[in-house]
Symmetry: C2
Subunit: 239 residues, 2 copies
DNA sequence: ACCACCTTTCACGATTGCGTTAATGGTGAC
DNA sequence: GTCACCATTAACGCAATCGTGAAAGGTGGT
C-alpha cells in the first residue's frame, strides 16, 4: 500500500535501471548495433565504435549484469548478442520520439526536404531507408535479427516487396548477401542493405520517386515521391 | 563521416538525454502520472508522490529543460502536463520490456496465477485492467489524455465496449466520472477507472471470467477466464 | 498592508558514475 | 614452452548528479 516511490517496487526499479543502461552513448550504441545488425565479437564492436577494449568491456559488463546482452565464449573470442529481441522495440520507441519529439537543448539541424533520404553505398538510407525497412518488417516480409537469429532473414510475405517494385526471388545476389540490416548512421534505426537494398533503390529511381545527386550521398525526393511514398510506406511522413 | 560516437551527433545526444531523464524514480513516476492521468498541479504531484516540493521542483525543472513537460501558470498554481503525447508510447515500451524482459538484479516476486488481476476500489486493475485499457485504446474506443486533452475521453468506436459486455451510453454515471485513466500501482501503466471501470468488472464477474476474493484486492481469474480473456484482450497473455 | 500559501531557485555535502591506466586470465600459433 | 592476442577485471581521479535545507518571488485573501 506504499506510494509511488517505494524503493522496493520491482517494476519501478526495473524501468529506471533499464533507462540508466540506455543513458550512456557507448551502451546505447552497442545495443543499437547488436539489435540491428546481429551478434558481434568484442573486437568488432570496439573497432566499429572506435573505443578502447577496456572501456567497452566495462560497459558490456554492466549490460550483461542488467540482463540486456548475452555473451558466448568461443576460443579466445567473445560474441555478444542482445539477450531478448524486445529491446529493439524499446530502442525504436526512444529513437523515434527523440527525433520529432523533445526539443533538444542543442540546436538540431532541421531535417527538411534535404536529409530526407540518403544513400549508403548503393542502397537507400536516411529516413526513407528506415521507413522501407520498418514497412517490410511490419508486414512480415523481413524478420529482423534478434538474440536467436543471427542475421536478417526473409519472412513469408512477398507482396510488400512487389509493391516496392522488387522481386527477392529474382535477385541474383552473387557473392553478396541478399539482405542485411544496417544501422543507419543518422537515424539510428536499421535500414535495408545488401543486394535487395540496391534493387529497391534502383526501382525507386526507375519510378521517378527519388533522384540521386551525383557526387553526394544525398537523394532528392521528387514531387512524385512526396506524393506516392507516404502511401507506400506507413512510417514515412515528410514533416 | 565520423563514427558512431560523435559527441556532436544530435540524435545520439537526444536519445541518451531522454534516457537519462527517465532514469530517475521521481522523474519517471511524474511522467507516468502526467501521461496516464493528465495534467496535475505541482502540489497534487508532490502529494501523490509523497516528496517535498523543492525535491520535485528540481526534477520538474529538468524535465522542462528537456522539453518533456510543459507548465502553465495560473494564479499561484502551476499545472504541469506532458509536452507531447508520444511520451506515453515510450513509457509503455520501457515498462512492458522491463516486465517480462531483462532479468532484474533483485529477485522479482514471480507474477504467476495470482497477481494476474487486482481490483482498484471497484474496477479492474493489475495486468487484466491494463490489458482492458490498452485494448480499448488500440481499437479506438478510448482516447488517452495527452498534453492537449485534459482527461480521458470516449472515442468513436462502441463495439469494443460491447464485446466486453458494457454499454457506455447506458451507464448512469451520476456524480461520478464516466471514465478515468488511473495509473496502475503495480503495472505502472494506465487502467480504466470511473463508472465504466466498475461496469467492466461487474460484467466480467457476471460472465464468470473472474471472481473477487472477499476481503482482499485480488481477483481470481477462472478457468473460463484464462480461456476466453486472451481472445478478448490482445495484450493479455497469461505467462 | 499584511499574511498565508504555492512555487522556484540556490548552495552545500554525499553519492554515484565514468574514463584511463595497469595488470590478470585464457586461448591459439609457432 | 613461449609468445602474441583477445577479453576481462581492478584501482584511482575526475566530473556529474541527487537530496537537503534555507531563502526568495509572486499571488490571493483578509
Amino acid at each position: 500500500m506504499s506510494g509511488w516511490l517505494d524503493p522496493e517496487d520491482p517494476v519501478l526499479g526495473a524501468v529506471t535501471s533499464l533507462a540508466r543502461e540506455l543513458a550512456d552513448p557507448i551502451r546505447l550504441t552497442a545495443l543499437q548495433v547488436l539489435a540491428a545488425e546481429g551478434p558481434h565479437t568484442m573486437s568488432q564492436l570496439a573497432d566499429a565504435l572506435g573505443v578502447s577494449a577496456p572501456r567497452l568491456g566495462n560497459h558490456l559488463a554492466r549490460l550483461r549484469a542488467a540482463g540486456l546482452v548475452a555473451v558466448e565464449h568461443s576460443g579466445r573470442h567473445a560474441t555478444y548478442r542482445v539477450a531478448e529481441a524486445g529491446i529493439g522495440e524499446v530502442l525504436a520507441a526512444l529513437t523515434r520520439f527523440a527525433h520529432g519529439g523533445a526539443a533538444d537543448t542543442r540546436p538540431r539541424p532541421r531535417a527538411g526536404a534535404q536529409g530526407l533520404a540518403r544513400t549508403c553505398y548503393d542502397h537507400t538510407a536516411g529516413r526513407l531507408g528506415v521507413a522501407v525497412f520498418a514497412a517490410l518488417v511490419d508486414r512480415g516480409a523481413l524478420v529482423p535479427p534478434d538474440g536467436r537469429t543471427a542475421e536478417l532473414a526473409l519472412g513469408p510475405e512477398r507482396s510488400p516487396f512487389a509493391e516496392l517494385g522488387v522481386d527477392p526471388d529474382a535477385v541474383r545476389a552473387g557473392r553478396r548477401k541478399l539482405a542485411t540490416a544496417c544501422l543507419d548512421r543518422t537515424q539510428r534505426l536499421p535500414h535495408l542493405g545488401g543486394a535487395l537494398g540496391k534493387e529497391v533503390l534502383d526501382a525507386f529511381v526507375e519510378r521517378g520517386l527519388v533522384e540521386p545527386r551525383p557526387g553526394t550521398r544525398d537523394l532528392q525526393v521528387t514531387e512524385r515521391g512526396l506524393r506516392e511514398l507516404p502511401a507506400l510506406l506507413p512510417g514515412f511522413r515528410s514533416a
